[in-house]
Structures are given as structure tokens and as C-alpha cells.
């Protein structure tokens, strides 16, 4: 096993204050399962899950309560045992409305996992293990939530030569992955080995930022006896080093083509938490029903890293951490760069929620937006080599086809442009607006049947 420094430079990064010191040293605490959980049907990329239980049904811990809603979708399992109280409209952490299955906890923790664990996974066919990952409802837990069983099953034409494990956690304030690497390195390492077996032996690169020396030591110790195909890569601390495409650039020097996927360049990136979830599913037979969430911010009385069941509400976690010091301020799901501001604390924790950030009014700056002064700072800061200033001006002027030409669909919404903008423009919102409008235009073009075909 080698320990390396990242061989390549990544363009366009920023160095915000990380504020990780508050929770980086606090061990993970387990939230006692709340009385009510609301399991969201949309907590991943792709089609929402379809409930298979009805009001009044009794369910057990780990029981399948919703199946995948399409080829790119994931199943969902109950984190508690109890009775289904309702299947109702709720809100996802992204702010979009979604169906939720509300379950009343009976406190008995009756197990009901449908998974058949395979502790001797090295003798299993990859397809069996992929089926197990699918049955466990595992999705990318780094934030994007792409269904893992689809990701680790690329088409045969796309050979994966390197599996990159994302332990970077570049988002400020968040320390969930950091604590996971310190406290459960064996689980992560076995999950990595299972994935390597499924992908038929690619190189392994575990990437960790150098602001986490204790996590690096913990993982190094556990991986010490690994062969030379495996390397632990220490990344320079910068935002957004942990973004998929930036990791591939820093570790392998390859650029994912515009509109393409990492598998196009022979790479695959998985978060450390996802690896731990794969271990729990394959070896222990537990589906994905809980995750570590960093609850922090100036308003939280006792910031902590909380192991919470999926479906616990933000208010449950905040209460566990001593509650908020005052009302008002900003409640964010995720981190300050890529997180989504919440309307209230009733949002349920989904599989991709890595942090709850409660910032006081003084900590939140509300800026007046000014016109773009074409200073170019955003161009220098953009890790995807886009022109954020031009895109934002085009979006403001309503020229959405122009934004497509400027490759707005490649934007990873990292927020570097908004961070550096001296005119305090809501850059990420402009990018999202451009993307939303382009998708609406594409949908309209598909639906519209012009009465007579026009000549080009």
C-alpha cells in the first residue's frame, strides 16, 4: 500500500474558513429513534421510490417499504419497527415536494431485513453482490445520491481501471465522513474491497484532504497490508477537491468530457460512507436505514456528529443537540457552499443529508445584488473552466440558448463563483435557473408538434 500526494493540480479552487474544529473531535453519537419518522420517496437521483405498504401496515426494522421507481432509482427501507401512519406529501431536503411514508415507532426494534448477507463475498459473482447492493437501497451518500447499484454496473464497453474512494469532505462545517474514517475504518476498507471485487480489480485510490491527519492515520493503519494496487492519496485542502470530476483530475489527470460521466474516462468515485453502507449490506445484511449527520452552526447549543435513522426530522436532531439558541437565522441542509436552505425544521433526513447547519442572523450575509462588473474572478475560481459571469448575465437577459452554448449544464453548482464575486451576485441560483430553463425548453421542443414541419 502506498501513500502518495496528489500528482496533479486542480484548476480554480477557493480556500474558505472551514469551521470544522467544532465537531471534528466529537465522536459519533447515536440518536435514539424518534416517535415518528417520515421516509422520503425522493432521496436520490432518478425516479422517486414507489411505496409498497399501505396505511395501517405493520413494519419491522429494515423492511422494504418502497421499491425502485424505474431503472435509475432506489428502494427504501423502514428504519424503525411500528405502524405506517400515513403516506402523505412532505418536503425533500432539496426543497422539492415529495411523497413520504410516515411510520409510528413502537420502540420494539423488531428486525425485518429482507437481505441475505454474503460474508464470503470474495467467492460470489459480482452480479449477486450488485443485487444485494440494490436490495439494500444504497445510493451515493456524498450528496448526489446516485443509485449505487447502477453506478457499479457500468456497460461492458466502459472498463473501470481506477476506483476512487472519496474521503475528502471538502465542504466547510461537515465532519461526518471524517469521524466515520476515524471510528469505522475497517468497515470502510472492507466495503472498498467488496467494490473492487464487483468491478473486477481496478486500482484503488483513497483520497483524503490533508486537514484530516487523524483520519489519514486511521485508514493507513487498516489498509497497511494491502497490495501495491492500493494507494492512499493525501490531497491539498481546497474547495471543491472532493467533487467527483476534480478528484479524477487531481488523482489521474484525466478530464471528464463535457456532458460525460467518470466512467467515460475509466474512473468511478464512491464516498466513504457509501463503502461502509456496502459493507453493512453485504456482510451484515443491513439495508441503508441510517447515516451520520453533522449538526453544527452558531445557533446549535451542542454541535455533534449524529448517527440518525433515515426519516428522523431535522427538529429531532436539533433537539438532540440541545436545540437552537434563538429563532430566525438560516437553516441549511448540507454545508454553506452546496447546501439547500430550508423553510423550517420539519424536513426528514434523507440518505444524502450529510449536515444540518443552523446559522444565526449575524452569520448570514444578505447582500444586495449588483450588475456584473466583468472582473473575471469567477472565471479564475471555476473548477469546471466555465464562464460564470457571462452565463449569469445571459440568464438575467433571458438568453437561455446562449447559456447552453456556454456549457451551463456542466456546472457542478459548487459555489466558488458566488464566493468570490465582488458584486455579490447569486451566481449558483443563476446557474440553476439556466439549467432549469434549458430543461424546460428541451421538454417543450419534445412535446411541441408543429402543425406542418418547417424547412430548416
Amino acid at each position: 500500500m502506498k501513500v502518495l500526494r496528489a500528482p496533479f493540480q486542480v484548476r480554480g479552487t477557493i480556500h474558505p474558513h472551514y469551521h470544522k474544529g467544532v465537531t471534528a473531535g466529537r465522536p459519533i453519537e447515536t440518536l435514539p429513534p424518534p416517535t415518528i419518522v417520515q421516509v422520503p420517496m425522493l432521496q436520490h437521483l432518478g425516479a422517486p421510490s414507489k411505496p409498497i405498504v399501505n396505511k395501517g401496515d405493520k413494519v419491522g426494522v429494515g423492511q422494504l417499504i418502497a421499491e425502485a421507481g424505474g431503472p435509475i432509482s432506489a428502494s427504501a427501507h423502514s428504519p424503525v419497527s411500528g405502524t405506517v401512519r400515513a403516506i402523505t406529501e412532505g418536503v425533500a431536503a432539496t426543497g422539492r415536494p415529495t411523497l413520504v411514508i410516515e411510520i409510528e415507532n413502537d420502540g420494539l426494534n423488531t428486525p425485518a431485513s429482507p437481505l441475505q448477507p454474503k460474508p464470503e463475498w470474495s467467492s460470489q459473482e459480482p452480479s449477486t453482490l450488485i443485487g444485494l447492493v440494490a436490495a439494500a437501497g444504497i445510493v451515493g451518500m456524498g450528496g448526489a445520491g446516485f443509485p449505487t447499484h447502477v453506478k457499479i454496473n457500468p456497460p461492458p464497453a466502459k472498463r473501470i481501471d481506477t476506483l476512487i474512494i472519496n474521503g475528502a469532505e471538502c465542504e466547510p462545517y461537515l465532519t461526518a465522513d471524517h469521524r466515520l474514517m476515524i471510528e469505522r475504518p475497517e468497515a470502510i476498507w472492507e466495503g472498498i474491497r467488496i467494490l473492487r471485487h464487483i468491478l473486477r480489480g481496478p486500482h484503488i485510490r483513497l483520497a483524503i484532504e490533508d486537514n484530516k491527519p487523524d483520519a489519514i492515520r486511521a485508514m493507513e493503519k487498516v489498509m497497511a497490508s494491502a497490495d501495491d494496487d492500493v494507494a492512499l492519496v493525501v490531497l491539498p485542502t481546497a474547495y471543491p477537491m472532493g467533487a467527483e470530476k476534480q478528484l479524477i483530475a487531481a488523482l489521474l489527470g484525466r478530464e471528464v468530457p463535457s456532458g460525460g460521466l467518470p466512467s467515460d474516462v475509466g474512473a468511478l468515485v464512491e464516498n466513504v460512507a457509501t463503502c461502509a453502507a456496502v459493507f453493512e449490506a453485504v456482510v451484515q445484511g443491513h439495508p441503508l436505514t441510517r447515516r451520520v449527520v453533522t449538526v453544527t452552526g452558531s445557533l446549535v447549543r451542542r454541535p455533534a456528529n449524529v448517527l440518525a435513522p433515515i426519516g428522523a426530522r431535522f427538529s429531532d436532531l436539533i433537539e438532540f443537540c440541545g436545540g437552537l439558541q434563538e429563532t430566525g437565522g438560516k437553516l441549511i441542509c448540507g454545508g454553506p457552499m452546496m447546501g439547500v436552505a430550508q423553510v423550517d425544521a420539519s424536513t426528514p433526513v434523507g440518505k444524502t443529508v450529510s449536515g444540518i447547519l443552523a446559522l444565526s442572523r449575524q452569520d448570514v450575509a444578505v447582500y444586495e445584488t449588483h450588475a456584473c462588473i466583468a472582473c473575471g474572478r469567477c472565471v479564475r475560481a471555476c473548477p469546471m473552466s466555465l464562464l460564470p459571469c457571462t452565463i449569469s448575465v445571459a440568464v438575467e437577459a433571458g438568453q437561455f440558448e446562449e447559456t447552453e452554448r456556454l456549457a451551463v449544464m456542466d456546472c457542478i453548482e459548487c459555489g466558488c463563483c458566488a464566493y468570490v464575486c465582488p458584486a455579490h451576485r447569486p451566481m449558483v441560483q443563476f446557474m440553476r435557473q439556466g439549467k432549469a430553463q434549458i430543461q424546460a425548453i428541451r421538454r417543450l421542443k419534445q412535446q411541441q408538434n408543429p402543425p406542418v414541419p418547417r424547412s430548416p
Partner: protein
């Protein structure tokens, strides 16, 4: 040879027809809203101005001068230019209808465009030999095209800007044209004696 290059450079940059001589402002403002139409218009003007120079020179020196009717140059040149432009219009309508429709009214306006008549008259006034006249016409048109394309690029970006209401549209365009003209004055001493 160097004299010829200097002549063209002078026509394109130093004494740019639009930005230094202030000829041809009408299509300059009218067609410069989109880069694609600006390029099309430039092509049409290059054709008309070069050909106009080539046709008017022999007509003046071999027809008007020997017959002693030099004073007819204005009306004769207008006639030739009008015919040329009509010809270009017919060709465009048949072979490039999209450009024809995009240019619209500005295509026949090349006829009354003082830049075209100007280049013909300037050739005579400067007593240039034939080849130099044609090159001067060509250079002048290229300069016109350069100014037009530059201006169109700037105007496309101005579309996204958010100026005060009183400046919107032509007002801001004219201010920009003035600034562009000032910028081109920087070429003033590029060619000595030009």
C-alpha cells in the same frame, strides 16, 4: 509592393471609412445588431465597393475625361453603383434568401451609402492609378466590414446589459460608436503621411 500594403493598411485602419471618415453610418448602425447579418452585409459591401472602384475608374479616365465631361462623374457613378447594388440584390434573393431577408431595407441602401460613392470619388481625387484604385476600394470595404463586425460583437453583448432607460437602444449604440472611433484614432501615425 510596400506602397500597396501601406495603401490597404491606411484604408482599413488609419483612415477607416466608418470610424475616421464617418461615411456609411447608416448601415453601420442599422445592420450591426447581429454578428451574422453584419458579416453578410460586409461581404456585400466588399463586392460592391471593389467592383465600383474597378468600373468607375476606366469610365472616368477613358470616357469622361477624353470627352471633357468630367462634371458628369457624380451622376454616372451613382448610376453604376445603383446598377451594381441591384445586381447584388437579385443574386442574393436567388441564392441566399435568408441573408436577403435579414438585410431587408439596408441592402438597397448600399446604393445611397456615401461610403461607396465616396471611395469612387476619392480614387479620382487622389489621382490613383487603376490597380491602386481597386485596392483602395477593396481596403476601404474591408475596413468598413471590420468596423461593422467589431460593432456587431459589442452590440450583441450590449443586449445583455441593463443600461438606464434613457440610454437603451440606439443611444447607447451611438455612444459606443463614438468610443470605437476614438479607439481607432490610435492608429493615426501608423502610416507616415497617410
Amino acid at each position: 509592393m510596400s506602397g500597396t500594403i501601406l495603401l490597404i493598411v491606411s484604408a482599413v485602419l488609419v483612415n477607416n471609412f466608418v470610424l475616421n471618415r464617418f461615411l456609411g453610418i447608416c448601415p453601420f448602425l442599422g445592420v450591426s445588431k447581429r454578428l451574422s447579418t453584419a458579416l453578410g452585409m460586409s461581404g456585400a459591401v466588399v463586392f460592391v465597393m471593389t467592383l465600383a472602384s474597378a468600373v468607375t475608374w476606366p469610365l472616368y479616365h477613358r470616357l469622361l475625361k477624353p470627352l471633357g465631361v468630367e462634371y458628369l462623374q457624380t451622376i454616372l457613378f451613382i448610376l453604376i453603383i445603383a446598377t451594381l447594388v441591384q445586381f447584388v440584390e437579385l443574386v442574393l434573393r436567388k441564392y441566399v434568401p435568408v441573408l436577403y431577408r435579414a438585410l431587408g431595407i439596408f441592402l438597397p441602401l448600399i446604393t445611397t451609402n456615401c461610403a461607396v460613392l465616396g471611395v469612387a470619388v476619392l480614387n479620382i481625387r487622389s489621382h490613383l492609378p487603376f490597380l491602386h484604385s481597386v485596392l483602395f476600394g477593396f481596403g476601404g470595404a474591408v475596413g468598413f466590414g471590420l468596423a461593422l463586425v467589431l460593432f456587431a460583437g459589442i452590440r450583441e453583448k450590449l443586449e445583455r446589459a441593463n443600461p438606464p432607460k434613457c440610454f437603451e437602444g440606439t443611444a447607447l449604440a451611438l455612444v459606443t460608436a463614438g468610443l470605437l472611433s476614438l479607439a481607432f484614432m490610435g492608429f493615426a501615425n501608423l502610416v507616415k503621411g497617410a
